[in-house]
Amino acid sequence: MFEQVFFSGLALGSIYGLVALGFAVIFKATDVFNFAQGMFVVCGAYFAVTAMSILQLPFPLAIVFIVGAAALLGVLIHMVLIQPLSGRPMLSVIMLTIALSISLRSIIEMVFGPQGRSLTTPLPTGVLMLGSVRISYLHLTAALVSWVCMAGFGLFFKFTSVGLLMRASADNHEAAVVSGVNVNTMNRLAWGIGSTLAAVGGLFLGQLQIASTELEGIGLLALPAVVIGGMQSIPGAIVGGLLVGIIEQMASTYISPKSSDIVIYVLLLLILMVRPWGLFGQRELGRV
């Protein structure tokens, strides 16, 4: 039983890690605590419904559609809403992301109706047996894709010139501007990547269950993941996601389903009290 629960936690945690990574990218680049990240997950699920069920695109083309639409959404949100507020108090920006979340939910319900939509893709179903452990192919695919995305993003961030510029902008905004980096473009790219990573999570969550605005609640589990891992740490967001997934499953199995919320958020509180920069984040030292 332990192995079964552990593996299912790992699979789930991979999706959380993906969404948390998107959150961390946005935060690291623009210092914005994005409360709309959960709705980006929902948007991903509904982009998938649009591509597969409404437009009936072939699956490879549907993926291009989903990624393109999600990236465009992130870029537009930054250009139209976030960029004009740069330099304003953080509270204003946070309120904006909350308002954005509520607005996106209402728009989706107006366009698609309040009922959930079933999402059928050619992604494999069925079960793989590894000894006594049963893993659904869909969970396995979700985990593998999440890891490929995370690894791909890591390589992009580390080894490409654009990735280098993004890191420079995130590390020191003013120095990047002085060096001639188009910081606004880098920030838009960060939002595009962040929303795309969330949308990929939404694609899998929508097929694991049903595409509905209730997926937002699941997407918001990325927040404790990113705080536990470290708000400014890309690896931390991934590890935080995995931890949240495993803790959720373990607590549900060995204590009770409701206890998983308690355990996750108690851990969050402990981290904030003892190591507020997270497990993998770096302490910020200021010189007076």
């Binding site: 039983m1 079964q4 629960v5 299912s8 699979a11 789930l12 999706i15 209402s106 319900e109 109706g113 309040p114 009922q115 959930g116 939509r117 079933s118 999402l119 059928t120 179903t125 079960v127 049963r134 659904s136 969550l205 694991l208 269950q209 049903i210 509905s212 209730e214 609640g217 699941i218 499953q249 549900s252 199995t253 009770s256 389903p257 409701k258 998983s260 919320d261």
Partner: protein, 409 residues
């Protein structure tokens, strides 16, 4: 006597005759009662439901069903020459908003009666006001003890009750599987409603000498591995599910993942076509839902045909399959028939008096016939199970309502 003497008398007699004729014809005209929502050309009927909040996915559809039935009535000329004007207030599933909306329908834009009341918390809060007030509630979306007990002429339940869902579902499976001491699992979200439903299931199972175990799951659960592993340990004869769409979808997908073919039935609210489609054919093969209403298009009874035909003409071909739509439709039928019995001069007081004497509702096959009496306001009490036929993308019934009567009557 000369003509000049007779003329004034004749004039007075003529005027008197005219006055009497005018008074008689006035009595034959329909009378307005604006304070009761009754006007020369229309009657206002109120709805209190969640149309944009967390439960709008189901309650919004119920409102559509209600409105569409009234539209059908209005297109045929209304009731005794008056159109039914549906005033739907959106409570966003918020008791405070519900109270404001209720008061609005009582006095500000008065209605002759109200239907719906989809929030159990609001029902409990408003119960004393409703029972002591002047506006009857005809066809509630959910039933609470606070509003339903003791029986009052002010309240008439209009949806499937949890107790009867449990009784019919358990009874059917015990008979079908020929069980002696059934082992049952109730898989429910962690709410008061889930606990209440499990208690009804346990009561029903105990009557057959069996035992029911309560397993809980989070509303926002993404995976059911812990619950499925527990089910494997318990090895139940069948399972019943209470919760939201995801609860049923994840349960059935989880059971299929572990190769478990345990018969499972969900409550009435867990019967949307999208849910079955999300489960997929293999996982849904062992899933049914229990309902006192028949989904639109599921059979060819006169009531179902009438609903389906009208729904198809107004672009509701998909929505008609939703039980909530059918429930709203039937509640509107109740409302329309109640108004029809009042004749040309409906008022709230006359409506309450008429309802309190008891009445029958024949939906011509959409539900089993049900009735209300001065001592019984339960509404529909006969249920049956439905599954989904993926070959034709329609619901299919397991038996007739008459086959299930023994479980709940």
């Amino acid at each position: 006597m000369t003509d000049s003497t007779h003329t004034p008398v004749r004039k007075i007699r003529a005027h008197l005759l005219l006055l009497v004729a005018a008074l008689c014809s006035l009595g034959a005209w329909a009378q307005d009662a604006p304070q009761d929502g009754v006007y020369k050309d229309r009657i206002d009927w109120g709805l209190l439901m969640d149309m944009s909040g967390p439960t709008s996915a189901s309650q919004g559809i119920w409102v559509n069903g209600f409105r569409d039935y009234m539209r059908k009535i209005n297109e045929a000329g209304g009731i005794h020459g008056r159109k039914i004007n549906v005033l739907a207030e959106d409570n966003r599933f918020n008791p405070a908003t519900d109270k404001i909306a209720f008061e609005k329908l009582v006095s500000q834009t008065p209605v002759i009666a109200i239907s719906g009341m989809g929030s159990s918390v609001s029902q409990v809060a408003l119960a004393p006001t409703i029972k002591a007030g002047k506006v009857p509630i005809v066809g509630t979306y959910t039933a609470t003890k606070a509003l339903s007990e003791p029986v009052t002429p002010m309240v008439y339940n209009g949806f499937c009750g949890y107790k009867q869902m449990a009784q019919a579902g358990v009874g059917y499976h015990v008979d079908k599987l020929k069980l002696k001491a059934p082992k049952v699992v109730t898989l429910a979200i962690e709410t008061a409603g889930g606990k209440e439903y499990h208690d009804y299931v346990a009561e029903a199972v105990t009557k057959f000498g069996g035992v029911a175990t309560h397993l809980t799951v989070k509303v926002t659960a993404v995976d059911m591995t812990p619950q499925i592993l527990e089910i494997m340990k318990l090895n139940p004869d069948f399972i019943t599910v209470y919760g939201v769409s995801n609860t049923a979808i994840l349960t059935m997908k989880g059971l299929a993942q572990y190769g478990l073919k345990i018969p499972t039935f969900g409550i009435t609210y867990l019967g949307a076509p999208q849910m079955f489609q999300s489960m997929g054919g293999e996982a849904a093969a062992n899933y049914k839902f229990i309902s006192c209403f028949t989904p639109g298009g599921a059979d060819q009874t006169p009531g179902n045909k009438a609903l389906s035909q009208f729904a198809d003409t107004i672009g509701r071909s998909e929505m008609k399959q939703d039980i909530n739509y059918v429930a709203g439709w039937i509640t509107a039928q109740m409302a329309a028939e109640a108004l029809g019995r009042l004749g040309k001069n409906p008022t709230r007081a006359r409506l309450i008096e008429s309802l309190s004497k008891g009445f029958k509702v024949d939906t011509k096959g959409l539900a089993a016939p049900f009735s209300y009496s001065p001592t019984n306001n339960s509404g529909p009490v006969v249920f049956k199970l439905f599954g989904y036929d993926f070959a034709v993308n329609k619901f299919k019934a397991f038996g007739d309502f008459a086959d299930y009567e023994k479980y709940t009557r």
